[in-house]
């Protein structure tokens, strides 16, 4: 439930390219239906194997948090694994008062912990009270009931992920068991119970330690995004900082749930061995009676134009790494398409410019990667990462990267190279369509982000329209010194 955080954008980028080529393949295959409550359903029938992949995407992510609720979108995603009023409990009517008592004591404890000079004896007493209540609560809990049900019925890949823009719940099931999915997921939307809250908060702190605090690559990425944005909520880590997580409450979590988790913000994709008409009937039966809710608002914060290079040192017990980010527009801006091509020219494959120059010829780096981040609903970043090869330094690597960018700014890309990267975009897109879950992910993501999965049907056309001159202009417009953030991760301050 965390790995996707950094991957999501590069994935979306690939997906985006994917549909463009496959649009002719896809246009005939995707069946769509909008229910009266605003819920959107997309179905692709594939009858070769009796399995179905089911994705539910809520168009809500960490961008919808405030400074008081950072991390809550992700925490809520965890909490929604805990069951409902009927699933996951032995007797909800008896459990409910206990849950309220746990929340009361937990909130009291959180408040006390924030006070300067809180009485240690009082803290200890409250902690004991909470522990006792949690122990008492156990008798009513049926552990991890969704996972249990899905697994027993042959489900695989049961998971969820939260990104800056979206939250997605996914499972693949043998196709005869799809009604179980409808029952569980509609109940999850209608009657969730946020049980075992304080334990799960601890789990997320361990997740933060595991995925960021002890992982140099992820720490580096987090630092890059955090420092590149000054105002826009893209700057905030999806998982939240430790003090954010420690102060999230059941009340805040419920507030986020009630505000955003609603059919108008939801897209479902079912891909596999199911008939479209049956899918509509099933979803209608289970989800059709949910009130539509209110559309999630667009984030109002606008990132100011960056006026001057930012240079950051992130100290970590690891060998040096370099990352550079430039602000850029997002889809459907024409310049965003240009960046897809630039991304390929610079960083995709062994014949890409940065690989050839920095890895093969100059042997300055062991790897270079180029991607967009950290979301795609709002203006985002173009990122180049590199790992220097000892004894070469991050400074040498950085200069060599800028030298390649200068070529892009000064010389027109040859038509042959453009053809190569367009070819690559089109073929990689086809590869995206191979698996049921890959296709379900693509459909829900683009339906949610662009408002229509068909939005990408013209992708190949748009890419074809771009000329070498366009790429040159885009490189000159955005890949400037004052628009960039440079983050070096290394052991100590030697470089900057």
């Amino acid at each position: 439930m965390n790995r996707y955080i950094t991957l999501i954008f590069s994935l979306l980028l690939v997906c985006f390219q994917g549909v463009a080529l496959g649009s002719t393949v896809l246009e005939d295959k995707v069946f769509e239906h909008r229910f009266d409550n605003g819920l959107k359903l997309l179905v692709v029938e594939r009858h070769d194997t009796p399995v179905v992949s089911a994705y539910i995407t809520i168009g809500v992510g960490s961008v919808h948090e405030t400074s008081e609720t950072r991390g809550v979108a992700h925490l809520l995603e965890h909490m929604l694994f805990k069951g409902t009023k009927t699933l996951g409990t032995t007797d909800y009517s008896k459990e409910k008062p206990l849950l309220e008592e746990i929340e009361r004591v937990g909130s009291q404890l959180d408040a006390l912990r924030l006070q300067n000079g809180a009485d240690p004896a009082e803290l200890a007493a409250l902690e004991k009270q909470l522990t006792d209540l949690q122990a008492e609560h156990k008798q009513y809990v049926v552990k991890d009931v969704f996972s249990n049900l899905y697994s027993e019925n042959g489900g695989v890949g049961y998971n969820a992920f939260t990104s800056k823009d979206l939250t997605t719940y996914l499972i693949s099931l043998p196709s005869n068991k799809l009604e179980l999915w409808a029952l569980i997921e509609s109940d999850r939307m209608k009657n969730p119970v946020l049980r075992e809250f304080y334990t799960e908060r601890d789990v997320i702190r361990e997740e933060r330690r595991r995925s960021y605090d002890t992982n140099p690559a992820r720490k580096h990425y987090e630092s890059l995004v955090t420092n590149a944005f000054k105002v826009h909520p893209y700057r905030n880590p999806i998982i939240g900082w430790h003090s954010d997580i420690a102060n999230l409450s059941p009340q805040k979590t419920r507030g986020f749930l009630e505000k955003y988790y609603a059919p108008v913000n939801t897209v479902i994709a079912l891909v596999g061995d199911i008939r479209a008409a049956d899918a509509v009937a099933l979803v209608d039966r289970y989800f059709g009676d949910i009130a539509p809710g209110t559309p999630a608002p667009r984030v109002s914060a606008v990132e100011p134009v960056q006026k001057g290079e930012k240079r950051i040192l992130e100290v970590f017990d690891a060998e040096p790494r370099l990352a550079i980010a430039w602000h850029k527009p997002t889809m459907p801006d024409k310049d965003d398409y240009a960046f897809d091509l630039i991304d390929q020219i610079l960083g995709s494959g062994r014949t890409s410019r940065l690989y050839r120059s920095l890895v093969e010829e100059q042997k300055l780096a062991t790897s270079v990667s180029v991607y967009g981040a950290p979301g795609s609903r709002y203006p985002n970043l173009f990122v180049i990462e590199g790992i220097p090869r000892h004894p070469h330094t991050v400074e040498e690597l950085e200069s060599a990267i800028y030298a390649e960018l200068d070529k892009l700014k000064q010389e027109l890309v040859e038509e042959e190279e453009l053809t190569k990267v367009r070819n690559r975009l089109l073929t990689d897109q086809l590869r995206q369509l191979r698996s049921n879950s890959g296709l379900a992910r693509l459909l829900t993501s683009y339906q949610s982000l662009a408002g229509d999965w068909r939005y990408v049907a013209n992708y190949a056309v748009e890419i074809d329209k771009l000329s070498a001159e366009d790429l040159k202009q885009v490189a000159n417009r955005y890949l400037t010194k004052s628009n960039r953030t440079v983050v070096v991760l290394q052991r100590e301050d030697q470089t900057l």
């Binding site: 194997t49 399995v51 027993e152 908060r201 459907p332 042997k363 062991t366 408002g451």
Partner: protein
């Protein structure tokens, strides 16, 4: 950016009322009330044939997308690599892929593949060497031609070996960046002290690998009678057969020596290795030697492992360590079923430094519980049903179907392995689970690696009851043992 149109409140009320009025049967709220149709499912057919020169082919067409995928497997790998040449297998894979083939120089081959938007991977595992190619249907001939060049006429260009070597040496310099990587490395070294499975490359072992080693390996082991190919996707069978005949037909059979497997043995005594790294969380791995695919206990082991830590949220480790106590995000166990030699049996988690000993102790208690008491029927049922009902997912992807068939045949699995798999899982009893738990749970011989800041758990370590040793990771790290 467009948004979903909100639905008017009035129309929704109408819709809800209509639904409420129109629904005769109440919606089931209990999954037990659901009745499922039977799953209609047959094992997919894979065409299997052998060419005159001994090449084995596994074919399955799938016309949905204009792509073809080919896996080529050669039945020899890096298992026999001597310690002083550790790293040979990875270098071989890298230089095989990048070193040019047939008439094409390294640069020409890279350009050629990139212009076709082809994906080509090459690698060497312990027992096999493998190529994986994904190509557009229209480029099938070029693709088969490149595969034939790679298998029959690889160049292993020196400059690409030097590049791969420099990169691998940099990887050695960076091998202590991640606590997960350190813990895996030390555990494998502890479990396989005398075989290539446990060796770690160093600057010097990498320096000692030569181009001639690669040429020798290819000449020794690559032959049509050692080649297995799985092809799936949008191809015409006759065209493919003609192409294969054209590109591989004149490759002559010859006798190829067998690789002699090293012997491995269970650890005689347990040990805790502690690596100090200034981190807020400790990575914990606990390991022992597991089993091979020839072991009749493998089905019982699958069920045992599911209940221990392989079943995600349904496993005891996840339930106790994560869900009940909040000590970790991840808690897991696995048996890597060895194709030739016993694979490792590993359990692990990551937890804040202060809770390391409770987490390790809890994991070992869960193991003992499984050894000393039979599992209850519900838990057994869940573990079995999960594996039986999810079996169909082995066949979701056409290429994995052909590739799986080829791999099973190559390693000599029983003919009915797939057909009988579900029945064999279904036959596992609580006694079987306890029997394999007794076989694989011996706390006194477990190899434990802890990577983190031991200041907060040092004093409690003796509670675990195994000897403790500190492992220093120097600037240019060598393996610990």
């Amino acid at each position: 950016m467009r948004y979903s149109r909100p639905v008017g409140v009035l129309s929704v009320f109408v819709a809800v009322l209509f639904l409420l009025a129109g629904c005769a049967a109440p919606l089931p709220s209990d999954p037990d009330q659901l009745q499922y149709p039977a799953l209609e499912f047959q094992l997919p057919e894979v065409e299997t044939l052998v060419l005159d020169n001994g090449i084995r082919l596994y074919l399955k067409e799938d016309r949905e997308l204009p792509l073809v995928q080919i896996t080529a497997l050669i039945g020899a790998g890096g298992i026999t690599t001597p310690k002083e040449k550790t790293g040979f297998a990875d270098l071989f894979g890298s230089v095989w892929r990048t070193g040019g083939a047939g008439d094409r120089s390294p640069e020409e081959l890279d350009e050629f593949l990139d212009h076709l938007a082809a994906d080509l991977g090459a690698g060497m595992g312990p027992y096999t060497s493998q190529l994986d190619l994904s190509i557009r249907t229209q480029d099938l001939e070029q693709g088969v031609s490149v595969l034939a060049d790679m298998l029959r006429r690889p160049k292993f260009a020196s400059e690409r070996l030097e590049l791969a070597r420099l990169q691998a040496q940099e990887q050695v310099r960076r091998q202590n960046d991640s606590p997960g990587a350190i813990s895996r490395r030390l555990l494998m070294a502890a479990l396989y002290p005398d075989s290539s499975l446990g060796y770690t490359p160093t600057h010097d072992t990498l320096a000692s690998v030569s181009r001639q080693d690669m040429v020798d390996f290819q000449q020794r082991y690559f032959a049509p009678n050692e080649l297995w190919m799985a092809v799936s996707g949008d191809f015409d069978r006759d065209t493919l057969m003609q192409l294969l005949q054209q590109k591989f037909g004149d490759w002559k059979q010859r006798q190829v020596p067998d690789q002699v497997m090293p012997t491995v043995a269970r650890p005689k005594s347990g040990l805790i290795q502690v690596v100090t790294k200034d981190l807020p969380q400790t990575t914990v791995v606990i390991g022992d030697l597991g089993l091979t695919k020839d072991d009749p206990d493998q089905y019982a082991v699958r069920v045992f492992n599911y209940i221990l830590g392989g079943g995600g949220f349904n496993s005891r480790m996840m339930r106790e360590i994560r869900s009940n106590r909040g000590l970790a995000y991840s808690a897991y166990s696995y048996f890597q079923v060895g194709r030739r030699l016993p694979g490792p049996f590993v359990a692990g988690t990551e937890t804040k430094n202060a809770s390391v000993v409770p987490a390790v102790t809890l994991t070992r208690e869960i193991m003992l519980e499984l050894r000393d008491n039979p599992v209850d029927q519900d838990e057994l049922q869940l573990a079995k049903e999960s594996q039986i009902n999810s079996f169909v997912f082995s066949f979701e992807n056409t290429h994995s179907v052909v590739n799986q068939q080829m791999t099973l045949m190559f390693f000599g699995y029983p003919e009915d392995y797939l057909a009988s798999y579900r029945d064999r899982i279904a036959a596992v009893t609580a006694d079987d689970v306890q029997r394999v738990a007794k076989e694989y749970v011996d706390l006194s011989r477990q190899q434990i690696v802890l990577v983190g800041d031991p200041e907060e758990f040092r004093d409690e370590l003796e509670q675990i009851g195994l000897p403790v040793t500190d492992v220093e990771l120097d600037e240019n790290p060598e393996t610990a043992r």
